[in-house]
Amino acid sequence: MKALAHDATALYDVPGPKTERRHRLYGVLSTLIVLGLLAWIFYLLFDTDQFTYTKWMPFEYKGIQELLLRGLGNTLKAFALAAVLSLVLGTVLAVGRLSDHRPVRWLATLVVEFFRAMPVLVMIFFIFVALKVQPLPALVAGLALYNGSVLAEVFRSGVNSVERGQGEAAFALGMRKTQVMTHVLVPQAVRAMLPAIISQLVVALKDTSLGYLITYEEFLHAGKLIASNLDYDLPFIPVVMVISPIYIGMCMLLSWFAQWVSKRQRRNPKVEAAEVAPAEPGTLLPGVQ
């Protein structure tokens, strides 16, 4: 069991009894340091009265709970819309990039590269401020443009990861390009792409919080409303302590789902050749994908 745990690395040997004792000492010391840091943070929190009843009282009220739930609902709504639209846009752009017609390919490449190079927030602000769009559509449009462009690359590398013989055989049977794509390449590519797609959806979920900056009434916005309430003595830290675990938890669940899917696939003999790497965050580097 022990040897198994250490098997994965080339960096050190299975420790002997002396080294083991030394490691245990390091372990205890570092744990003590971390615990000390945590204790110091708790001391600071108590010292600045973050655990007083007034500061935590708001969470007992139904109205405030509803406000938070509504915010969470709005976050999930923006996420769902952005996810669907980016998948659609990603498909369209990937089809464009895989097209046989040069102008179409160039146009799709230009769109993909531009939207990947821009900060999402700049696009969202542009749509919100310059085009005077409502917060929710502005947020969703910005997220869809960015994530759609990234997903287009995922789809493209997914289709390209299918063995070349597959496409050639389908063409030899007399299928048209559309048929080759929809009947042969895409069904095989989807399996390999799935983990990368879900990882990109985690990015979309995280980025819905950008809606806060354009006054979309999402989860963080609801938190901010409560946090700046004078009646409860500005319960800023309690709000952060309540909303962060929920936000981080949602993203973690989705990340774990992606990992679970990819692990399950690695065991599946049907998808051996293809493994699509998740898209690099914002790349302009040739040769990365």
Partner: protein
């Protein structure tokens, strides 16, 4: 069009603000990412656990939430620093998680025999890591680290929305002065393109010199 020429100083200030933020946050992210990556491959269990928690939590935290907590939350319990320092801390810590993972996957690409050979020469863990494995891992992580830093430059826009003086923030000043908002955004976009293309060019040069295909 005249938005740029007549407000060059505003744009330049925002541009330099973004560059400054990106440079300092990159340094912090690279250092922290390196430390966390060493933790994650260390023989001591508690180091590994700490590294894993750090990476898992930060990678799944929305950056806006992190900025919210750091810029607006930390002052509430007595930690008052300039806004810019807070922004660098938030950006740097967030990005360090991605740098750490890039480094770690780079370490995994180094053949096991290399580490075994180093050990048979009597090297310790830190010697093996710093003299044999990392120099080789470094060559294969140039592209992913480059794209992580490009992402950092783009993410620095969020700091602007939290009123740290940087490129995106210039639109507020200029729209108050009544300039055409579309052209303002055009020049902001150009500014970001300059920054991201520069980073990508730098990393292309690095890759040509030292890179190896993964």
């Amino acid at each position: 069009m005249d938005v740029l020429t007549s407000n060059f100083s505003t744009f330049a200030k925002g541009f330099l603000g973004t560059v400054e933020l990106t440079v300092y946050a990159s340094i912090l992210a690279l250092v922290l990412g390196f430390v966390m990556a060493s933790f994650r491959v260390a023989p001591v269990g508690s180091f590994r656990a700490f590294g894993t928690v750090w990476v898992t939590v930060l990678r799944n935290t929305p950056l806006t939430l992190l900025f919210f907590a750091v810029l607006l939350g930390l002052p509430r319990f007595g930690l008052v620093l300039p806004f810019k320092v807070f922004a660098i801390l938030a950006l740097g810590c967030y990005t360090s998680a991605f740098i750490c993972e890039a480094l770690r996957s780079g370490i995994n690409t180094v053949p096991r025999g290399q580490g075994e050979a180093a050990r048979s020469l009597g090297m310790t863990f830190s010697q093996t890591l710093s003299m044999v494995v990392l120099p080789q891992a470094f060559r294969s992580v140039i592209p992913p680290v480059g794209s992580t830093l490009i992402a950092l430059a783009k993410n620095s826009a969020i700091a602007g929305a939290f009123s740290v003086n940087e490129l995106l923030g210039t639109y507020k000043t200029l729209s108050e002065l009544g300039y055409n908002i579309i052209w303002t955004f055009f020049w902001i976009a150009v500014g970001y393109l300059i920054i991201t293309l520069t980073i990508s060019a730098i990393f292309n040069v690095l890759e040509k010199r030292w890179g190896v295909p993964r």
